[in-house]
Amino acid sequence: MFEAILLTVSMAATPLLLAAIGELVVERSGVLNLGVEGMMIMGAVTGFGVALMTGNPFIGALAAIIVGALFSLLFAFLTLTLVTNQVATGLALTLLGLGLSGMIGESFVGQPGVRLPRLDVPFLSELPIVGRLVFSQDLIFYASVFLTFGVAWFLFYTKAGLTLRSVGDNHASAHALGIKVIRIRYLAVLFGGACAGLAGAHLSLVYVPQWVENMTAGRGWIALALVVFASWRPLRVLAGAYLFGAVSIGQLHAQALGIGIPSQLLSALPYIATIVVLVLISRNRRLTMVNTPASLGRPFVPDR
């Protein structure tokens, strides 16, 4: 049963992790994109629709990635090329995404979807506990873990990662060093959009293979919170996503066991826990200062 619960937790955590890891890269480059919810829901409707039409959930997931990236391009063009305010543009992107996805998905309502199959890793999936948990999951789960470690490696062990971080820390001096600030930020935003799109596809192809309006139900916002919660460190995002998943699944189990606490309090627990952990982490001033991208949310226009 413990194993089963862990499986549920990983199910709940995967879309959060994916969206958050994408947003982490975006924020590390100094851009704050509050449109995660909008990009996620676009990914969800695309993934579902394309999988339904082609009968192939893999093509659906791929399409979700592409559409998520394209949708984020809109944000990138406005905030990076036209230097609009990032907070407002992100919120507008969410509004647009929720509306557009509803329009696109009108004919998908009430149709059962195509589930992304589980892929067993030979031999390893036979292992006790970790076998089913880690090596017998769907492709998007593998992608989420791979991306987390990939991003961690990229950010801290490659030159390109260093460049991206320097853009986020101080775009003026990065520009002075001849780094193409805008280009790097475009790429980061596109990556974030692709990740959010895939996170949406996880919802509509794995979690609950169906399409309904607003099915992301605020998960994009939680992903945003996770990035800050993790103080912009990929592995902490991983931990945070699973912690958040564990608390929200745990409260359902507590209820099923008949523990008589108001269910609203249990539902509020993940949020309160996030604040508490955040306070604990951020008390260490030095650590957070080092990790926070100093240019976050600031517009950049190169002087010529």
């Binding site: 919120l91 647009l96 557009l100 996030t274 951020s282 001033r285």
Partner: protein, 363 residues
């Protein structure tokens, strides 16, 4: 070919005035294309969207009702955003203000005097401010990121309200349905001009708040402090301003405004507490604040315009059968146009041909 921005020496007054019209023009064109593509008559749809809600008095009242909370919250937020305090939890402060303000009519229904309403308004402001104080305190004391803490507190506030109206504050005569008792007459925010519609004094509060904060921002030292600390905390320190105190000040002001909006909405428009009292006013107000360019007077205009798109969206749904999703997508694109056009105020846009650059390099 690509776009290049050149920063203007100073804000362009021409484009400051022109940009809203430009954005509106683009919106009309995009809307017409969208509606035509959906098989609707574009002219008729746009008419219902932008003109129909303004034709009748009752509808103007509704516009004021819808705009009031947006304006109130957004002017408070402008103080936060100008001082670089990213309070995105106004929704939660709105709810807590509504709860704190409702203590009297819900728990002491027999306590009926004329001063109940003023007390409620004060308690509402206090409730919102107190709730906003949490992220402010965490930021000052522990350096906790306020974006996250204020956002998380929204969910907590929503669940707290939910628990209250389903549990301890439930109307004893209400068949166990999740709502408090209806407010008595002394607890109802009166209508401004009840002969013509049901707009309540919340709209007046919003206008007054906008004027007061506009005055503060543009004419007083405090306003200068807000802007200096927002643009450069270092410069602010040299000027002798305390960044920590500014965090608290900004959050308290915006929390109080959101709380006032909350209790006004509950007391003026709803008349009781319910599990959901806000369709996301706290978040929409963030957009309003930026549409109004963080200027309280601009925010009044922005709030009215955004309210118009809600009303117009409904009119278009009913009259030409435009779906609710199209309305929301259209709303999103309006915002994009407005934001994009405002770029012209600060920047000149130039088209650059890469080919030319190469030639120049050769020479």
């Amino acid at each position: 070919m690509r776009l290049e921005l050149v920063k203007r020496q100073q804000q362009s007054t021409l484009f400051s005035a022109l940009s809203p019209f430009l954005a509106f023009g683009l919106t009309i064109v995009a809307g017409a294309i969208l509606f035509a593509a959906l098989g609707k008559d574009p002219v008729e749809t746009l008419y219902y969207y932008f003109v129909d809600p303004l034709r009748e008095t009752w509808s103007l009242h509704e516009l004021a009702i819808k705009a009031a909370p947006l304006i109130l919250i957004a002017v408070g937020l402008s103080i936060c955003f100008l001082s670089s305090n990213w309070n995105i939890g106004a929704e939660g402060q709105f709810i807590m203000g509504a709860i704190a303000g409702s203590v009297l009519p819900v728990l002491f229904p027999d306590f009926q005097f004329w001063f109940v309403l003023p007390l409620m308004l004060i308690m509402g402001m206090a409730g919102g401010a107190a709730y906003a104080f949490i992220p402010a305190l965490l930021k000052v004391r522990f350096n906790t990121n306020e974006i996250l803490s204020s956002l998380m507190l929204v969910y907590v506030a929503q669940l707290f309200l939910d628990w209250l109206v389903r549990g301890p504050w439930r109307n004893p005569e209400g068949f166990n349905f999740p709502e408090t008792r209806n407010f008595h007459e002394y607890a109802i925010l009166p209508e401004i001009w009840s002969a013509s519609g049901r707009a309540h004094w919340g709209f007046v509060f919003a206008i007054v708040a906008a004027l007061v904060l506009w005055f503060m921002l543009s004419k007083t030292l405090k306003g200068f402090e807000v802007k200096v600390l927002g643009q450069s905390p270092r410069a602010g320190r040299f000027a002798g301003f305390s960044a920590g105190r500014m965090v608290v000040f900004a959050f308290l002001v915006s929390g109080a405004m959101a709380g006032l909006a909350g209790i006004s909405e509950v007391s003026g428009a709803i008349g009781q507490l319910r599990p959901t009292i806000s369709p996301g006013y706290g978040f929409t107000a963030i957009i309003v604040a930026f549409l109004g360019r963080l200027n309280p007077l601009g925010i009044v205009a922005a709030g009215l315009i955004l309210a118009l798109t809600y009303l117009g969206g409904e009119a278009a749904q009913i009259s030409v059968g435009l779906s609710d999703k199209v309305v929301r997508a259209f709303q999103g694109s309006i915002l994009f146009f407005v934001l994009a056009c405002d770029t012209l105020i600060h920047y000149r846009v130039r088209l650059v041909r890469p080919a030319q650059k190469v030639e120049a390099a050769h020479v």
